[in-house]
Amino acid sequence: MASIPMVDTVTGPSMSELWKTRRDKSRFQWSSLGLLTPAFALLIILFLVPMGFAVYLGLTNLTLVGPTAVKWGYTGTQNLLRLKSDTSFWSSLWATGIFIVGSIAGVVVVGYVLASLLMRARPWMRMIVGGIVVVAWMMPAVTAGMTWYASTTGGGAFATLLGTPNTNFLDNNPLLVVTIASVWSMTGFAMLVMGAALRNIPSEAIEAATVENASSWQRFRMIILPLLRPTMTAIVLLTGLLALANFSLIYIMTQGGPGNATNILPLYSYQQAFTYNNLAYGALIGNVMVVIATIFGVFYVRITARRL
């Protein structure tokens, strides 16, 4: 390097030492540790430790109140056996599955339809409809739950608009209604992301296909879908994760009822822990959720890490 100054070989640093100091930048610096420590200390104390603790807690007899709230201990596989024969748990798992799959399907389909139609619509239409969908997405879950409850209960907005004022949609089809509410509250995100991805599709590709007399279905299947696949995968995984953890919306709308119809895993875990006081059993149900979330999470890492 011409810019390295000539140095007296006796008193100053040697040429090879200068080379070393130039590489100094890429060496480990102790201050990096200081910069990382606060964030990772928080993550370890309030994420990794509780996660490990939850694994143990799930195999104990801890309760919220009573003698086993103070004197509790390891009970081995007792809770696991209970889980195996707990019909409420299996129906909750089933409801969770329906809720997640329904949310994903609805969000992807409605999000795509909105994104592709809005792209071709007039600006004023795009502003109004896009705005409404984004407002629905931004609305905090508690508020969304409130307004969906009001709209779908007897005498609510949907009943009035459809001319059957006494129909109680929420009581008649609880799982369907909360799934639709969940789709409603997440579509805005999918619409924005897919809109951005659609705009990145080179128009030449679609024009070329049109010249070749490809039908619009063929254009969608052969060109748009393959190019949109990474975006769609990300939306599917995130929607799945968010639906799995969706406590607030359903809790406000139905509290898991009527009966156990909408008692998805987060609500069932809460119910066992804080209504029936079985803290340990609630934690075990929480662990089932962590396992499901980890499966989604691993795929999510795989597609996101490529972009790092």
Partner: protein
């Protein structure tokens, strides 16, 4: 929950201009395109109405002095807002502010240090650390609430401040991920120039990196704020004193009252939404301006 706006904040840089060229060139059949355009707008209008319908109650009942669960033309009055912006309900909103501000401050400050370090420094096991950050940014950490409850109750932590710390952890991974991506985009030239002047790490961060990555840091902070602001299950379980409960719990408490005050519920829920909508508007603007980092380095 608010996790939903997680990755979304990262993709708000949606350009406004449409690409009309996606429309197939069908000059011969202008009649057909016109029919198509009309039906397209009709479908969109229908979808818009379907998305608007569930919100109608919220807006109409809030300004109706004798509201019910139903929708009707309101007896216009602002009395509901006057009712809910007093006493314990106002105090709950204040608690929400405290909860959200503290958790955002913790997550953003610790997050920016970690993000800088992960972006610029050579760190052993950097790959696994980044994978851990991405993983925990995707997995909703609020599902950890039962073990955290047990830990907090042992130490007598079931109050607003420790809860704010836990909420900061639930948004920390995504904030780190977002800020790291922004710091990656900041040119290193300015930083090296500052190093030449013997600036310390802290000075480099404060004077160079943080100002340049400000749009990303602001967006990450907004994400953290909205996440804490909207959280319901975490304060429900982790905060035990009634006078420390934030607004979402107050909204839920409305439902447990023997006589439902519909207008008040709607007005309060609407007030609760306002900060979120304002911050969304700010963040989408930030992202439009955010990627203009040129001009800092001359020549």
């Amino acid at each position: 929950m608010s996790e939903k706006d997680a990755v979304a904040t990262a993709v708000l840089d949606v350009p406004e201009t449409p690409i009309t060229s996606v429309m197939p060139p069908e000059n011969r059949q202008t009649q057909r395109t016109k029919v198509r355009s009309v039906s397209l707008h009709l479908i969109l209008g229908g979808l818009g109405i379907l998305f608007l319908a569930p919100m109608l109650w919220l807006f109409l009942a809030a300004i109706d002095k004798n509201a019910s669960w139903g929708i009707e033309w309101p007896h216009f009055s602002l009395i509901n807002f006057k009712h809910v912006l007093t006493g314990s309900l106002l105090h709950s909103l204040w608690n929400s502010v405290v909860l959200a501000v503290i958790s955002t401050a913790i997550a953003s400050v610790t997050g920016v240090f970690a993000a800088y370090s992960l972006s610029r420094r050579k760190i052993p096991f950097k790959g696994p650390l980044l994978l851990f950050i991405i993983f925990s940014s995707g997995v909703p950490l609020a599902i950890m609430v039962i073990p955290v409850y047990e830990i907090f109750s042992r130490f007598g932590f079931l109050s607003i401040l420790p809860t704010a710390v836990f909420l900061s952890v639930t948004s920390l991974p995504f904030e780190v991920y977002l800020m790291k991506n922004f710091i990656d985009a900041v040119p290193t030239d300015l930083e090296e120039a500052a190093r030449m002047e013997r600036a310390s790490t802290f000075q480099v961060l404060r004077r160079v990196v943080i100002p340049l990555a400000m749009p990303g840091i602001a967006a990450a902070s907004i994400f953290g704020f909205v996440n804490a602001w909207g959280s319901f299950v975490v304060p429900l379980i982790l905060i035990s004193p009634a006078n420390q409960q934030p607004a979402p719990i107050a909204i839920y408490t409305f439902l447990t009252l023997p006589k439902a005050e519909f207008g008040n519920i709607a007005a309060y829920s609407l007030v609760f939404c306002v900060p979120v909508f304002i911050l969304y508007a700010v963040s989408s603007r930030l992202f439009r301006e955010g990627f203009v980092l040129g001009g800092g380095v001359k020549g």
